[in-house]
Symmetry: C2
Subunit: 194 residues, 2 copies
DNA sequence: TATTAAAATTGACCACGGTCACTTTTCTAG
DNA sequence: CTAGAAAAGTGACCGTGGTCAATTTTAATA
């Protein structure tokens, strides 16, 4: 049996990722074409698909890596002590995820991985996000009647909702910030019992 | 100026929709091909795109119509008197929306319409869903500290979340039903104040 | 009825993601 | 060093969504 993975392959993969990143930097995610990537990387088209299952897998890698890097910073912050500072911490990531409609669609598509083998960067970022949030929420001045993980799940659901609606014409351009404030006050600081 | 819209065009559109529905019935949404639709409808490919902006618009129409029909039935029900019966009312629609991964992706993509002109069947179903829900929630034994519309928005967000996670390998096959129960008890019947 | 402009339709064509049988390179075993 | 097997890479080819200049059909008007 020959060596499992060769240096050559790693270099090729790196070239592909570099080329893709360059295209995205210059023209955005939506304009990215596989043909352009392989041309810049100086490899054949087939090589691309030997390294990435499909174009979406490359997007997962590019976007997920960026989200993860961002989450690394977030994770070092102090647990927010109120809803406003929680939102302040969450907003940059949400803006990253919604800078292009196309990017948000990719994220939605990958937020629930279809199979165990397919858990990619974006899906695992979501999992980490819940961890970080749960940690924060457990330490903050929020409701105590439910599991922090459930609270975190809910915040995630409202983040998705606010991001989706930010593209929606019906809600004429209400900023995500104010939507989140409404949602999170009701979710994290309910004022009465049923 | 000639007549604004001709009978011929309406017939063609109907033929296209019929053909598409037949394909979906036989092979599911994922397998639907524009070429197959125009072949069955007996028209040229270009005609398809004169009637639908793109393949997604046809999907919007097919799926949205179905969702709307379902919502019509739901809307006639009595307001649920507890969380279990609320979930019971919501589940069939959620199962409809998740019968194929592809269908759910289409729904996600259309749940927030990109522009005023683009509010299609799926997006408007979401709007109606909030209306119906808000009505129910206002009459039910649920929290009274927030606007019913906000409550309904939240239920919608949790529906999306539960549907997305139902495809997710990390949450190994927890049924939507039990996820919804956890979410809605915490959202609609919070037991303490922050 | 003849004219004619807008509406409707056509199908050759293109763009782009993805496949696969084949070639080249790499590494290990003998 | 060599043989050979696995890994890596190649590029012609295909499927399918989408475009558009040209053609046909419709119906209002003179």
């Amino acid at each position: 049996m020959a060596k499992a993975i060769q240096q050559r392959a790693l270099k090729t993969r790196a070239k592909l990722l570099d080329a893709a990143q360059a295209v995205v930097f210059e023209q955005g995610f939506e304009a990215l074409r596989v043909e352009e990537v392989v041309k810049r990387a100086g490899v054949a088209k087939g090589t691309f698909f030997a390294h990435f299952k499909d174009k979406d897998a490359l997007m997962d890698q590019l976007i997920g890596t960026e989200m993860n890097r961002h989450l690394d910073q977030i994770a070092t912050l102090e647990p927010p002590k109120d809803i406003d500072s929680l939102i302040e911490a969450l907003l940059p990531g949400m803006q990253l995820a919604t800078r292009e409609r196309y990017v948000f669609d990719v994220i939605l598509r990958h937020s629930g991985a279809a199979a165990n083998a397919e858990i990619g960067p974006i899906a695992s970022t979501f999992a980490r996000n819940v961890e970080v949030l749960a940690n924060w929420l457990a330490r903050g001045p929020f409701r105590k009647d439910i599991d922090p993980v459930l609270m975190a799940d809910g915040v995630g659901a409202f983040q998705i909702q606010a991001m989706a609606l930010s593209f929606c014409a019906i809600h004429n351009g209400e900023p995500m910030e104010s939507m989140m404030k409404r949602y999170l006050e009701a979710w994290l600081l309910p004022k009465s019992e049923g």
